[in-house]
Every structure is written in structure tokens, then in C-alpha cells.
Symmetry: C2
Subunit: 536 residues, 2 copies
């Protein structure tokens, strides 16, 4: 046919030409809303390219961002890859060692950061020998030890928007993101112009997210987290209104944004969904514009889906994804042959991680690597491949064990039903291997969290002489709930729902369940805490 390359420039140029007046909204630190349009965004993206040039940035150079979801970060999202450099979105919730490691490992030349994150950068700058310049994402330069430090607005105002993006080869790296890394140093995944393009295109399918120019999109998921699930790319490619929630958005602030900006599609962590429900109990918000609330980062408990749907009329969707997969692999879908089902039955479908997105391949395999059947009973490790699935980590020998024959081994244990819907039942390392049988910690957690007194629940394996491993549940009760007689009540609650040998041997009531940088339960830490408690 031809040698036309898939790249972000084509999508950006078209949107700038077609939708100059379409709006981008960005919440500022003081809670006010900054507004501009696609024409202004495009102007600044090209100024940024000129600024990168004046900073001596070459094609292929890595550039770090350390920032919240805001319009300047969005400009980096498009300007850096279209220039031909590589945007490395550093996770601002990392501990210092992970921040330092990922910046040094990626060999970032310049670091762009938000004003309020200056102290973190100042504290580690002496450990970043390869960073040649810092840029503060604001309009003034504060007193600081960082040097050389440039001011973003000054860089942009010192140049013009007369920059013509070249047609990059589609396999040019565009962005890098590092995994959340609960157990070891983070691993980097490089996304290319092509992989981002194809992933964004899939998100626009009616049968996937159906992202459209008619949407008002609120990415709550941080922009340092797997390209904010691809939303800033799909949104700009279609011309959608994009609303960025700024620094440390709280649940009530997000609900206000949904109401005031008539958000049609919002996406964020399950924990934020829980927080939203707490707020909603106290104060009503008009959420009628929301066609979907996409929750992720972990499986969404059924109770949350039910509450959003029945009480507030908000349909929850979810999918399976990871840093290695750009991230969307599968997505909630009601099939044609399920259209006539009751709401209850449809909610059960939405409790799963959904159907494989066209273009990808998936399989579940046993410990010998053999495929297991799609009968929703056999559990297996989920393997994925396709045009936006990584085939290696960036300069990392851990690639060898994670990628096999082009397939990425997710480390997640799943079942798939006859309709092809994926259900993640556990992490490979978290599944409880009790006497040769597997017990899903996640299924136990979901049922525990469905109990009206329970806020959070986390199930881990404890060593057992005879069965090798047995489940123990850590439970955080809702405020005002008392744990007297609660252990018996929770076991009674679980009993009709699981085989007898699945029931936890013990329930431990805790004041907090530890979480990692992305808000997921930190089961390693919890296992350590539990074993110390059990020993004392």
C-alpha cells in the first residue's frame, strides 16, 4: 500500500485544524479552573518544541516529567514525542530510591516538574548526574538550589510557534513509564509512536471506550501512570473536551468537576470511587452527564458497582491492564446476546475485567505453560500479546523471565468464561496454595468488602504445617463499627459463598491496610506485619 507512518503528529495536526475552539480545562492549585482551547494548546506545543531545540535536546533524548494532571503536563505529553524525544513520566508517589533509579536508568536529560514538587526534586538532585537542566512548570522561578533551572512559561514566551513536526518513523520511542514496583526496583516500558496511536485508536471503538469528540473526559488516573490509560492521546485525537483535575484532587472536588464540566467519561482508581461514594452519602451531585465511570488499578468490588448504578445511575466499567500493556487489554462490554439480561445480571458482567480488545491475543496457562479451558473454573496465568503490548523492559535483564515468545506473562491469575470475559482472581504470588488447591485472595476480599460493616479487606497466605498455606483476612471496619462478634459474623457471611476449605483461618481487625504508590494493597508489607503480629 504505502510507507505512511503511524504517528502522533498526524492526529495532532488534524485536531488542531478541525477543533481550534474545543476546550481544555485544567484545575489550578487554588481550585480555580484554567481554560484554553485546542488552537492555544497547539500553539504552545509547537513553542515547546522550539524550546526543546533551544535546550539542545536531540531526537531520542529522554525527558522526565514530575507532575500532576494539568495542561502543561498535557503539552509535554504531545510536544516531547512529536519533537522526536521521549517523555518519561516519573511516578510522583514513588519513594526517593525509585525516583532516583528511574530517572538515572532512563538517562533523562531534562526534568520538568510542578512547583509544589520542588522540595522532592531539590532533595534528590545531587543523585541525578545525567540531568542537565530543570524546568519548573510555572511562570516564576522560586528560590532554589537547583541549577540550571528554567521557567516553563519563559521558555515558551521566548520562542514562537513556527515549528513543523517531522514525520517520524513509527517505531520511534515516544514515552517511557516505569512499573509500580512493590518488590524490586521499577522496570521501564517504552511506548512507541505506533503503539500509542494503535492503543488510542482502539479506545475510540464503539465496542471499547467509544471515545468521541462529543465526550468531556476527566482523567483522574495520574498522568505519571501508564500514559493516564491512554486518555490524553485518545481525547486529543478525537477533539474531545479534556478536563484535568490538577494537584491532589479530592473526591468532592472531582464530583464538583463532573457536575460543573458535564463530564461524560471519568477514569480513576477504585479507591477514589469508594471515596466518592462516601461523599455522595452526605451531599448530592448531579452526575447525569456521566455515560461511564471507569474504575481501575484493581478489580472493582460488586457492592461499589451496585451502589453507583442503583443509587446514582452511574454505569461502572473496568478492564484489565498494566504498564506493560499500554495499558488496555480488555474492557467491560455487554454483548448483543446479553442485551436482554436484567440489571442484576448485567452488573455481574461488569464485575469482571471484560472482553479482549480487537487486535490483541490472550491465553491463560497452567504452571507448565499449557493453555487451560475458558470455562470460568480453570485458573491460569494470563498471557497477552499484540501491537501495544511490550515485548521487553527498557534495558533490563528481567525481560527474560517476563516475556516468552512475544507473549507478556502478566503474573496475574485469571479465569475466562465461555463468553470470553476475563476475571482476575489473584496475583500469581498472592494466590493461596492450600493443600495443592488454589484459593483466590481477591474473591474472598470482594465478598468481605460486600459486608455492610467492612470498609477494606485484604487476604494473605500464612504458613501452615499440613496445608502449607492458609488464608488470613485483615479487615478494616467502617467508622463507628465495633469488632465485637464480628469475626464470627464475617465467617458466617462467607460460608454460603465458598467451599469450606476457602474460609480464612483467622480474621485480624486492623486500623489501616498498607498500600503502594499506586493505591494498591501492599501485600508484601502486610504479610510481614501479620507474621510479626502472629509471632508476638
Amino acid at each position: 500500500m504505502n510507507s505512511y507512518q503511524l504517528n502522533l503528529k498526524t492526529l495532532l495536526d488534524r485536531s488542531a485544524r478541525y477543533f481550534p475552539d474545543n476546550e481544555i480545562v485544567s484545575r489550578e492549585a487554588d481550585g480555580s479552573l484554567f481554560r484554553y482551547n485546542y488552537a492555544q494548546f497547539y500553539d504552545r506545543v509547537r513553542r515547546l518544541a522550539n524550546a526543546l531545540n533551544s535546550l539542545g535536546i536531540k531526537k531520542g533524548d529522554k525527558i522526565a516529567s514530575f507532575a500532576w494532571n494539568n495542561y502543561r503536563h498535557l503539552e509535554l505529553y504531545w510536544g516531547i514525542p512529536c519533537y522526536g524525544a521521549v517523555l518519561h513520566t516519573v511516578n510522583i508517589r514513588y519513594g526517593e530510591p525509585e525516583i532516583v533509579h528511574s530517572i538515572n536508568h532512563a538517562e533523562d536529560k531534562v526534568l520538568f516538574f510542578d512547583k509544589d514538587l520542588l522540595p522532592t526534586i531539590e532533595a534528590i538532585a545531587h543523585q541525578l548526574p545525567k540531568v542537565k537542566a530543570y524546568v519548573i512548570l510555572g511562570d516564576t522561578i522560586p528560590k532554589t538550589t537547583l541549577s540550571p533551572l528554567y521557567c516553563y512559561e519563559e521558555l515558551l514566551s521566548q520562542t514562537d510557534s513556527n515549528f513543523c513536526f517531522e514525520e517520524l518513523e513509527e517505531n520511534t520511542p515516544a514515552t517511557i513509564c516505569y512499573t509500580s514496583a512493590t518488590t524490586a526496583l521499577p522496570k521501564g516500558v517504552a511506548y512507541t509512536q505506533r503503539s500509542i496511536y494503535l492503543h488510542a485508536s482502539a479506545l475510540c471503538h464503539t465496542d471499547v471506550m467509544g471515545i468521541s469528540e462529543h465526550d468531556h473526559i476527566l482523567p483522574i488516573v495520574p498522568m505519571f501512570h501508564v500514559n493516564a490509560w491512554g486518555l490524553p492521546y485518545a481525547a486529543i485525537a478525537t477533539g474531545a473536551k479534556l478536563v484535568l483535575p490538577g494537584e491532589r484532587p479530592k473526591a468532592n472536588e472531582l464530583l464538583e468537576l463532573i457536575e460543573s464540566e458535564k463530564i461524560t467519561y471519568a477514569a480513576g482508581a477504585v479507591t477514589l470511587g469508594v471515596d466518592m461514594l462516601t461523599i455522595l452519602e452526605k451531599r448530592p451531585y448531579n452526575l447525569s452527564s456521566l455515560r461511564k465511570l471507569h474504575l481501575g488499578g484493581q478489580a472493582v468490588p460488586k457492592a461499589i458497582i451496585e451502589k453507583f448504578f442503583y443509587k446514582y445511575g452511574v454505569p461502572i466499567v473496568q478492564g484489565f491492564g498494566a504498564t506493560e500493556t499500554s495499558p488496555m487489554v480488555s474492557f467491560t462490554r455487554i454483548r448483543r446476546d446479553q442485551k436482554q439480561l436484567s440489571d442484576d445480571e448485567k452488573i455481574n458482567i461488569c464485575c469482571r475485567q471484560g472482553m479482549l480488545i480487537p487486535g490483541l491475543e490472550v491465553k491463560i496457562v497452567d504452571e507448565l505453560g499449557e493453555e487451560v479451558p475458558w470455562d470460568d473454573e480453570h485458573m491460569g496465568e494470563l498471557l497477552v500479546r499484540g501491537p501495544w503490548i511490550a515485548s521487553e523492559y527498557y534495558n533490563d535483564e528481567r525481560s527474560l523471565s517476563a516475556f516468552v515468545d512475544g507473549w507478556w506473562r502478566s503474573g496475574d491469575i485469571a479465569t475466562i468464561n465461555k463468553q470470553g470475559s476475563i476475571r482476575i482472581v489473584d496475583r500469581n504470588k498472592d494466590v493461596i496454595k492450600s493443600g495443592g488447591e488454589w484459593i483466590s485472595s481477591v474473591q474472598l476480599e470482594n465478598e468481605l468488602m460486600a459486608h455492610p460493616s467492612v470498609l477494606e479487606a485484604c487476604v494473605v497466605a500464612i504458613p501452615h504445617e499440613k496445608w502449607l498455606e492458609r488464608p488470613l483476612a485483615c479487615v478494616l471496619l467502617k467508622k463507628g463499627q465495633n469488632n465485637t462478634n464480628m469475626e464470627g459474623e464475617l465467617i458466617d457471611w462467607l460460608t454460603p459463598k465458598f467451599p469450606k476449605w476457602w474460609l480464612p483461618d483467622q480474621i485480624m481487625f486492623v486500623d489501616e491496610i498498607p498500600k503502594n504508590a499506586n493505591g494498591k494493597y501492599n501485600k508484601n508489607l502486610l504479610r510481614k506485619m501479620v507474621s510479626q503480629t502472629l509471632l508476638t
Copy 2:
């Protein structure tokens, strides 16, 4: 990221696994409906691959189809490219010279044909030295001079479905289609695995056709015509119900199919839309399942859009496309900022060829090749490029003049408005150059056809001493209409709508307007007819 190849196999395997029970319906010669499901389709596609192997077909070999829209043709659509061979869909409406030329030029090794088309093939077989075998798409072998002749059903039953498609390199040619060729021998365009994949993916975007598993799709557009606008690929890739209308479908039979199979998306020639309206005047059909009726092949006259919308509640969509563009370049869309417009205003938007599909680039240029502004006034030749736009004709030196710096020169004259919506105003060779100014024959035709007495209208240039060219209109009145005083009435009808110098110098009432193989007006022939009439 990785070297994963975009190809049809991935889409086919997924759909077969996810939607084994989804239905494919095919109208037989006797009007009955053949029904089977994706599992059976997949089984037969793999049997076909084994049969190709047993016929000695190698990767890259070209194989011709000469067939209507039916399930066996659909099997060729998927089986031949997934096997690694190239499907050449020969236009059954060509004259003999074009059929012979295209088969010989493509060097087709095998020719699959529908039973009722046997006489055509018998008549030309002696001119096809490179065709080594014929396959009749049926279950019996009739008496014939063709040799060797195989029976499709026999080939499939003699093998099994144990065939594993390999992962083809994405630039492997998948299908070939030849242009309609009104003035010269047809030119071939080869589509690749990648270009078909990317084009089908774009059709699934909510902002384009939004093809979904929930759709019941009726491709009326022939399957020998630019991959039936990509619908058989997008439909199978999503798992949609596909309804194929078989041989010589008449407007009433199509309306019956829409009603009985609850079609949601139908696509065919404008002329068929006109025929449907004629039938609908006499008999009601329930068309409420139709979310869109996509008409193409030429600009859709406003009167037709209005009638379908206001009288039958059917929204008409259209786009710009050609054999060289896979074919979809642009598509009707109501933008976010147009949502509040009245129905009348929205219909005006639907009269245009719509907005560029993401991933493509378009420009309009003057006779010197300079871009002209998007103000809806400046006319220019439409140029297109992108991942599913051809960059050459198949083994044809005419490529040199049609493709420039990766852009395809459409030969169509268009304007583009500030909202980016394309409006084709004429073919380059049909635009009437009157005294240095351009007159759009298509705009005159549309307004003439909006007159209640006019069925068809075609405007061509006639030579003029002073102005070089002047417009002449040929008009076919509706049945029962009388042409007495009609010339004056039609000129009065046009007068308020155009500058005075646009008005046709003469209106000629005819019994028929000649059309080419794809149902478009044959203006070359008409110009000849007109000049003969004017001379006599």
C-alpha cells in the same frame, strides 16, 4: 515496543472464539435466506485454506472472485488473504474487455465465480491464459466448456478445518481491486493486511461509522467494489451480524431484508436509495432498526436526505472515497458544537462529504498545486494521504501522474468549510470552465433533482465560442411528468440559487441517462450523445 504485525488473522481468530454463535445471513438466488454462524464460517474459511493448498496456491498468488454479495464470497474475503494469497474481486459489471484485462493484468491463477455468471466466464475463458483453474461457488458442476473446473462445496468437503493461519508480515498484499475506468483500462490497487486492518479499525470508531458487535450490517455495495467499503472486514472483526443480499437485489427485496433482519447499518449506491424511496411511496416498511443508511458512489442529493429523514425517520450518511483510498476518507458527522442545530441545518451538514477520518491528511490545491483556503468558496483538487491510501497503482505507469510525494490526486474538485467538512463539487474533468470561472456540474444537478418533477439530472459542458464552455443539462423526468413548459420552469427553479452565468444554456429532456459499471453517470458517453444530438 514490539514487532507484532497487523493482520486479518488476529481479528478473525478473536471473533471466531468470542462470537461462535453470532449469525451471518445470505440471500440465495431463490430469495430464501441461508443462515450460519461465525463458528461454521470459521470452519469453512480454514477448509478453504486447505483447499487453496491442495490447488497448489502459493503465498502471493492472485485469485479472482467473480461473485455477488454472499457467504461464499465472504469466505474468500477472509480465507484467501489469511492464507497469504491475494483476492482480486473482479467487477462483474465490467464489459468483457475490462474483465479480461483486469484478470490478465493481475495474473490471477484461479477464478472463483457464482453459478449464474458462468456464461460470462465461458465466453472469455479462451482469453485468460494464466488462469489455471476455475471454481464454481456452488455444490454441483454444470455442463460447461470450462476446464479444469472444481466445485467449491466439494473442495471444502474433501478437506478438514485443521489449518493454522500463520502470522503474515503486515505489508503482505491481501486484496486487489480495479477502478471503475470510464475512460481507459481499469487500474489496480493492492490493499495490504495492514491497510485493511487500519481502515476497518477506523470504521469502528464512534466518530466514524461506529461499527459494533451490536450492529446488523447490510452491505448493499457490491463486494467487487473496493472491499464493499470495508464493511465485511469491520463487521467480522467486531462480531456484528452480517446480512448479504445475494444476486441482483432489488430495492423492495432490500427493504424486506432491513425489516426482517432488523438491519442497523446499510450501505449502498445513491441510485438504490432513490429506488427505495419509490418503493416506499407505495408500501410501508418498518425501518426503525436502521441507525444509519449510508449512501455513496456520488454525492447524495438533498431531496433524498430530506425525504428519508422527515418521512421515514432514517438518517442518511455519506463520505468521500475511491478505489485508491480503501475507500473511506471522510464521513458525515455532527460536531459537538453543531448538536444544538435544527434538523434542517443538520441535513445541510449531511449533504456534504463530511469530516476527515483521524489518521489521514487532506488538502485542496489549485492548478499550480498551491493549497487553497478552507472557506467553502475556493475550489481545489482534493489530495489525500495516510495509512490506507494507495501510493501507486499495481504495475501501472499511470501511477506517475496520480501520486505525487505520497499524496493521491483524486481528480475531484472540492471545497472545504471552516468546520473541515468536505464538499465535492465536481470531477476535475467535469467542472465547467466558463470564461475562466468554474461552474460545478454537481451543484446544478443536485438542485435540478430537488425539483419535484425531476428523477435524474446530469449537467455537462458544451463547447462555446466566446466562453469556451457552457453548461447543458440533461433531465429525466419522473414517470407521468410532461416536459411541456418544463425548461422554463426548471430555469426559474435554479435562478434564485445560482449566479446568473451558472444557469444552463439549454435543458435537454432524455429517456435515460447512461451510467457506468458502478452506477455513476457516464458523462463521457453523455457528452458524445449530446454533441451528436446538437449536430443533427
